[in-house]
Chain length 195, copies 2
């Protein structure tokens, strides 16, 4: 049996649920184990799940016309992810969501989420707060993408997510920061020399 307490804490930080509703919510999420490199979401298929990471690491990415991979989002323990556009509108995904390590997730399917939102005030509020926070996060990210240079984006990431840094392959981080792996390598090395 998995320990769901990180998940429960995560929810409690967003809103206060009655014990019954917390039980309803956790019952709607399924524990799933996935192996490194396994895909949870693939372009062409509708994203069926909203995903919470209990243990492990993921990234979501797209592949552009030239065949280059671009990481859109990371998620490690206690983070959420999906292809939001696909999940919200139930249209075919454009993103891959791939495990970077062997991982354990909680997933809720779209239909179950709709059902909860349509019948339960507290849970509807919870999902609203999640959507608002996702929007606020993406807005901040858009600003940082528009205003910072490659090196500044790297520095910001290091400062914000030092623990995450260790666990990510550099090619994924590079594409998340919107630069080539070679250039990221260069930046990192220039830093080391300075010290």
């Amino acid at each position: 049996m998995e320990d769901l307490s990180p998940f429960i804490d995560n929810i409690n930080r967003k809103t206060r649920l009655s014990p019954e509703n917390m039980a309803l919510l956790t019952a709607a999420f399924k524990v799933v184990k996935v192996k490194k490199k396994q895909l949870l979401i693939q372009p062409g298929f509708v994203a069926k799940y909203r995903i919470y990471v209990l243990k492990g690491a993921f990234h979501s990415y797209v592949i552009d016309d030239k065949g280059n991979e671009h990481t859109i989002q990371f998620a490690v323990e206690d983070w959420w992810l999906s292809d939001y556009n696909s999940y919200v509108h139930q249209v075919p995904a454009t993103q891959f969501v791939e495990a970077l390590e062997n991982s354990t997730i909680l997933q809720i399917d779209h239909q179950a989420e709709q059902q909860l939102k349509n019948t339960n005030w507290e849970l509807a509020t919870l999902f609203r707060l999640m959507a608002e926070q996702t929007a606020a996060y993406l807005a901040r990210r858009t600003v940082s993408n528009l205003t910072q240079s490659a090196e500044e984006r790297y520095n910001e990431f290091v400062a914000k997510y030092p623990q995450v840094l260790q666990r990510l392959p550099q090619y994924a981080l590079a594409s998340y920061l919107n630069m080539t792996r070679e250039f990221l390598s260069k930046i990192r090395n220039a830093k080391v020399r300075k010290k």
Copy 2:
């Protein structure tokens, strides 16, 4: 008296409200006229309002360390905008929201919105759908920022918002597309010559 039908249609496209709730909602929004160049939101102040554009045009932007302006978002008739991070979390804004033309807006203040969401199921659902759609939109924008070149971003904008194009100052569009005005000028001109 202003004609609110575009607003009402906008809401109806998101969800079906009872006449009473539609009345409650429209009562919570105030009609405000603003002059070109007027600021609705300013860095340092908490964004008090969620804004719907009835008539006119706006852009939101930030100013970076070097003093350069970066447009984050546009809005013309029938669009919504705010500094979402500031509005959602009620923290000081980082963005300006400025009128590009003399305009008429509908605005709801954060407290009134909370009140409606806390007491009314249908309206809570409406605001949840709005947050979800905002998140999905920002996710799409993030992808396009990460995967496309300057010229491709311009082409995409032209294809998607041809009518909007005419009404925006080029310097605002350039910074929205994450390039200098000079470079945008070059791209446009290269196109004209090809024809």
